[in-house]
């Protein structure tokens, strides 16, 4: 058990060092390392932003801004925390600002009409029937709406916890609040989601 924990910790530390090391190389002028960081973190950042704003075009635009800011901040980057925590802090900051500025007032509308944003379902060996597709779309609509109606910070906390598997401490740093505040945000959010989605069991 202890050996496994030590191994996990070593892997974790190595991961910290690797991303931060790459960022320090970017700081030193190695733009290829920025490409490596982009390749590694592009999907998680866009997926997080997509679930936050529920609009793929806006999510990509915000993600561009995130990576642009990472690149432009390279000169003053310091290895003070895990790279992904810093990255998601920027992403969260931009997403919350964007939502707060009311740039996504059409979000509710987008839940119904933006067919292009719909995820491509992975079908293993056959095409889904019309009925299955309708059931899936209905469930997806319910989930998207349930997430969209959460207060913004609760939404960000749930998305980082559920989909990015971030620890409470990382979420706290990304949201610039205490760990206990994150737990409180999460429990209230899950309480709301249980009330809205428990029937989907």
């Amino acid at each position: 058990m202890d050996e496994r924990v030590n191994k996990d910790m070593a892997g974790f530390a190595a991961a910290i060092d690797y991303d931060a090391e790459l960022m320090l190389r970017v700081k030193g002028g190695d733009n290829a390392s920025f490409g490596v960081l982009l390749e590694k973190h592009r999907c998680p950042v866009i997926h997080f932003l997509y679930r936050m704003v529920q609009n793929q075009a806006v999510a990509e635009e915000l993600a561009q801004e995130v990576f642009l800011r990472v690149f432009r901040s390279r000169g003053s980057y310091e290895r003070t925390a895990k790279f992904t925590t810093w990255l998601f802090r920027i992403a969260t900051h931009l997403a919350l600002n964007s939502l707060r500025d009311g740039k996504h007032e059409r979000m509710q509308e987008s839940l119904d009409v933006e067919v292009d944003d719909q995820p491509v379902r992975q079908v293993s060996d056959r095409r889904p029937t019309v009925e299955e597709s309708m059931v899936y779309q209905a469930r997806l609509g319910e989930v998207r709406e349930a997430i969209a109606t959460l207060p913004q910070k609760q939404r960000a906390a749930v998305l980082m916890h559920k989909y990015e598997e971030m620890e409470y401490s990382q979420i706290a740093k990304a949201l610039n609040c205490s760990e206990s505040a994150v737990k409180s945000l999460l429990f209230r959010a899950y309480e709301t989601l249980r009330a809205r989605l428990a029937h989907m069991a």
Partner: protein, 165 residues
């Protein structure tokens, strides 16, 4: 095992149980507890349903030209980065000076652009609104970046001190 439903720490345990974040020993203890506790069983059932329902929300596919667009934007702003780097050179080591210089540059640019001309201006190629807003945005973004990084570094530095307390 005391019932986790009785306090806030218990809720954390319940959420961790459903998300698979408990170690095997803790999970087994909670499994044992649920045999006799209907409230916890109900909570776990509801939370598990939420956890599973959220899996439906798959991300959409990413545009094929995402990287190309990003690198184009990086290229566009690189001139500004060079200017910031020049302002941050060893000759200007004072911490607040680059920000002050950038803000001053913005103010000067604003005054120059807004100043009414004493004589009718000769027809000349106007600075496009797009270019003006781009420069203003870039200044604002650069200031935002510096402020965010400064706050983040401050937060990170203060944490070890707090944890020792």
């Amino acid at each position: 095992m005391n019932c986790p439903m009785e306090n806030r720490e218990g809720e954390e345990l319940l959420v961790n149980y459903v998300s698979g974040a408990l170690d095997a020993q803790e999970a087994a203890a909670f499994d044992q507890h649920m045999i006799t506790c209907a409230a916890c069983r109900q909570f776990a059932h509801g939370q598990r349903a939420v956890w599973k329902a959220l899996d439906v929300f798959e991300p959409a596919s990413i545009s094929a030209d995402f990287d190309r667009r990003l690198y184009q934007r990086i290229e566009k702003v690189s001139w500004w980065d060079r200017m910031v780097a020049a302002l941050s050179s060893p000759m200007l080591t004072h911490r607040g000076l680059p920000i002050a210089a950038a803000a001053a540059a913005l103010l000067v640019a604003g005054v120059v652009w807004e100043r009414p001309s004493a004589t009718p201006a000769k027809p000349k190629a106007p600075l496009s609104a797009e270019a003006q807003s781009l420069q203003a945005d870039q200044v604002q973004n650069a200031l935002d970046d510096m402020e965010m990084l400064r706050e983040f570094n401050h937060l990170m530095r203060s944490e070890p001190a707090e944890s020792k307390m």
